[in-house]
């Protein structure tokens, strides 16, 4: 389909390999990958459809546009934290203190901005710097003293929680002014319709643009191409799906800017992980640390960067949570925030064993977590049941991850 057939492409000289071409080939390759245990985003996509169907049949309000808009608002803060978790999980490490970190960030906003009266950007900057600093501390404990991140971040969880209580003092919570841009951002700011539709078309257009560029360059370098039909089919499906989502949500309040910010961060992280040298090093260190070291990668620097990104994003999540709740309270970042963030990354398909994952897993995972939490709230179920069900979903996700890993090993796909 793509080869003209007069000269074998550089990567098509081995006759033993079946080459999948065109749309049929792409589907066949996909089925093969799933069978061998390379599940990717499939379980989470299936799970999301399943959850939506169940909750919708129990209470049709679940799929009402405005309920979904609220869901997106709620997803952004924990989603941000989860995005950072993807980074540390990628290295086979963990950060258990992200919940407390977000709590401290939210307290810092309240204290520096409202109580001390500094400008808002200063408060946000202070919160983010605090996050970066904490990440640096964890990384140094790991690289200098060999302290497992599991322990150092568990200690950090407690220390940060104490700091949050200290910062808020006896009052316990600080209300943020309702008229301020920060609270508006977290509660009512919606993208205008034209911007939403434009952003829905953009990914498909970018896909075609970069895909064509890549095809041209591959053809020039005498490499094979998967074919134009696959590229166009993917782009069309994506664009139609996104337009449908935007149209449906604009029946309600529209798309929150806050969710847009989260998606933008996911896109940036995805680029960093898949298209930069840093991202390659992250995968390498997670897959085989010694091999990465011997290839000249500065493993410690990569670890520092991962922990710093994680804690900074956790702090940002705290800022977003404060803006969503219009307050900095002692409850911010406690309870299930920690586990939800970690569960979201794992449910989305980032492996706990390191070396496998994607920024998108934070987005899809947090949608699953938030859908469950939202659906159960609509059913008027108590938080006790909510915790149990979320716990079960996390367990299932980890089992799927482990089984897929075993299957990959037996199919030679690590």
């Amino acid at each position: 389909m793509s080869d003209t057939g007069n000269k074998a492409a550089l990567d098509r000289s081995d006759s033993r390999v079946r080459h999948d071409e065109g749309i049929g080939g792409a589907i066949r390759a996909f089925i093969d990958r799933v069978r061998s245990g390379d599940l990717g985003m499939l379980p989470v996509a299936v799970g999301l459809v399943l959850i939506a169907t169940v909750f919708w049949s129990l209470n049709p309000i679940f799929l009402a546009p405005n309920n979904l808009v609220n869901l997106l608002f709620d997803a952004a803060a924990v989603g941000c934290i989860s995005l950072g978790i993807v980074c540390v999980l990628m290295l086979g490490e963990i950060d258990l203190s992200v919940g407390s970190m977000s709590g401290v960030a939210s307290a810092l906003i309240g204290v520096i901005w409202v109580k001390l009266g500094f400008p808002l950007p200063v408060a946000i900057l202070a919160a983010l710097s605090m996050g970066a600093l904490m990440g640096m501390v964890y990384a140094l404990l790991l690289t200098r003293f060999g302290m497992p991140s599991f322990v150092s971040t568990l200690a950090g969880l407690l220390a940060l929680l104490g700091m949050q209580l200290y910062l808020l003092g006896s009052t316990g919570s600080i209300n943020l002014p309702y008229a301020s841009p920060l609270v508006k951002f977290g509660q009512i700011m919606m993208m205008p319709a034209w911007l939403s539709y434009l952003l829905a078309i953009l990914p498909g257009a970018a896909m075609v643009w970069f895909g064509l560029d890549r095809m041209r360059r591959r053809a020039a370098a005498n490499l094979s191409n998967p074919g134009l039909s696959v590229l166009l089919a993917k782009a069309i499906i994506l664009t139609v799906a996104l337009l449908a989502v935007v149209w449906y949500l604009s029946q309600g309040r529209g798309i929150p800017y806050m969710f847009g910010l989260f998606v933008a961060l996911v896109v940036i992280m995805n680029y960093a992980l898949t298209r930069t040298k840093w991202g390659r090093a992250m995968f390498a260190v997670g897959g085989n640390r010694e091999a990465a070291r011997r290839s000249g990668i500065n493993v410690n620097r990569i670890r520092v960067s991962a922990f710093m990104v994680c804690s900074t994003l956790a702090a940002l999540g705290g800022v977003l949570a404060a803006s969503r709740l219009a307050s900095s309270s002692q409850q911010a970042g406690t309870g299930d925030v920690n586990l939800n963030a970690i569960a979201a990354a794992v449910i989305g398909g980032t492996s706990l064993f390191g070396g496998r994952g994607s920024a998108w897993s934070a987005l899809l995972g947090i949608l699953v977590i938030q859908a469950i939490s939202n659906g159960l709230t609509l059913l008027n179920l108590s938080s006790s049941l909510r915790y149990m069900i979320t716990g079960a979903v996390l367990a299932i996700a980890v089992i799927v991850d482990s089984l897929a890993r075993q299957s990959r090993a037996s199919h030679g796909r690590a």
């Binding site: 990567d11 033993r16 390659r280 995968f283 011997r294 000249g296 030679g412």
Partner: protein, 264 residues
């Protein structure tokens, strides 16, 4: 800086009195080694003789406890693998040191990707195919994770990676252990090609046939110390004697017994 020994050409790599201690174990003691440009030096010795430790010292993985290393006439400290690679010392490790979760292209270019802020995948894939074809490698796809490759294919990928940066010295630790007959011949051809390009090669192998086929000098290590330098013309018995440390050894006893059996 000039070499006092009868004005011989400057060695690329010169080791003097290199020692390495792991706790109570003296893995290497006062190792002397010269590698000249366009020369294949074979490093042989029994298990535990310190060959792999020496390779790791030269690759910057382990730091020597004592001794001096000179590279191109300059004293150097190889304190990290990156430093060794930067100088032009490339290594194919015995365990290959590949990342199984990454594909072949990613492994070849690991740590030295083209386009740090926007990876040039097309260019890297082209380089990967060219390099692999130079080695006459049979890799079905460079976009599959290394986990799906066979032992021999992984070995080829590891060798191809060491050649990527056009190193001055390349060290191969048991490069033919997992290879078939034809691929072994290809690797030996490759070693000669690398030598003819004016690079130094350090080859570690248990296979005396391979060693004899390509080595200009054979350096024997025994129990972490130098135990003689030989040439390819040295008899097998002599080499084995140097490796085991005695003319009366397991190999000679076995041969004698076989001879007796034939005579009876």
């Amino acid at each position: 800086m000039t070499d006092p020994r009868e004005g011989a050409a400057q060695p690329i790599l010169k080791l003097r009195g290199v020692s390495k201690q792991f706790g109570a174990v003296q893995a290497l003691k006062d190792i002397e080694l010269d590698v000249h440009a366009g020369e294949v030096v074979a490093l042989v010795g029994d298990n535990g003789a310190g060959k792999s430790t020496l390779v790791k010292v030269l690759a910057g993985v382990h730091q020597p406890t004592d001794g001096a290393i000179e590279f191109m006439g300059q004293p150097v400290t190889l304190d990290s693998p990156g430093k060794a690679l930067e100088l032009g010392i490339a290594t194919v490790f015995q365990d290959l040191a590949l990342c199984e979760n990454l594909d072949v292209v990613a492994n070849l270019f690991l740590g030295h990707e083209l386009g740090p802020w926007a990876l040039d995948e097309v260019q890297m894939e082209v380089r990967a195919w060219t390099l692999l074809q130079e080695l006459a490698a049979r890799i079905p796809s460079v976009r599959e994770p290394v986990a799906s490759l066979s032992g021999g294919q992984r070995q080829t990928v590891a060798i191809a990676r060491s050649l990527l940066l056009d190193p001055k010295v390349i060290m191969l630790d048991e490069p033919t252990a997992a290879l078939g007959v034809a691929q072994t011949a290809e690797v030996l051809n490759l070693i000669e090609r690398v030598r003819d390009r004016g690079h130094g090669v350090i080859l570690i192998s248990h296979n005396m046939e391979d060693v004899r086929a390509v080595a200009d000098r054979i350096v024997v290590l025994r129990l972490g110390q130098n135990n003689g330098v030989f040439t390819a013309e040295t008899s097998n018995a002599e080499l084995v004697a140097a490796i085991t440390g005695a003319t009366e050894n397991a190999v000679s006893r076995r041969r004698a017994r076989k001879l007796e059996e034939v005579e009876q």
